[in-house]
Amino acid sequence: MKFAVIQFPGSNCDIDLYEALHTVCGADVAYVPSKESSLDGFDAVMLPGGFSYGDYLRAGAIARFTNIMPAIVEMAKAGKPVFGTCNGFQILTEAGLLPGALKRNDSLKFVCKTVELEVANNDTIFTSEYQKGEKINLPIAHADGSFYADPETLQKIEDNGQVVFRYSKENPNGSLNNIAGITNERGNVLGMMPHPERAVEALLGDTDGLHLFKSILDHAEVKA
């Protein structure tokens, strides 16, 4: 299974993702600059955190127009794992691959700390190595992480079990229903504000993010 880590202008967590997969999990990974237009030969695609295009207009709004996006959409349609953390999550919502939107934190502050999450759904290719209801700790670092969806969409996401991670002790940004991470309806695209790639070694403070990458490695493809 080969992973692509996309590098947008302004990405700054691309190396974290690469190292989490390569050094820690021993996976086959390569960087793919967003000016490329093909993901041939890759089985999964990872969108890193950062500030693509300086967050101009809206976080993630401009990255959607890069050359690589059609190939990412194709991967999503083919049922391959597509993962976005932080700015990657924002890009996936802006690209329409995930429902809802990420808006400015209610506090108006950039929040950088470790938060407790509950694994709300472990029946996904991204979370099968977790227990349902398990409490994990992952770092967050964002100013635009308040998840919003209109009431109808929110209900649909909840009913379909698309909410995968919830903030459990405190809601750091005002996200509706304490939502920290969601999948698409099919379950092969995951976006989350927390950074699992920053919690994969004891030296980094925590290893709670490791199971996410191991879960993906367990599943090459989601059946349609």
């Binding site: 939107a101 808006k103 400015r104 209610d106 209109d150 005002g174």
Partner: protein, 82 residues
Amino acid sequence: MTTVRIYVTYKQSVFDPQGEAITNSIHSLGHDEVKGVKVGKFFDVTIEEGDKLVAETVKEISEGLLVNFNMETYSYKILEEK
């Protein structure tokens, strides 16, 4: 050439934390008569009118890029035509 000002704001139902903070600051100024502030942004867009109507261009660029319809809405007015 037509210059159009496109206004983008949060939908009514969406909480606007910046507007809330500004409202509170205005109250600190002593203006309790101010009951609410909504923050938005605007884009002055210069369009050369050809086969496509200005209104169509505005609609397409708003829906395609300037507005995230999950949380935002827009309106516009024509500033200048020459």
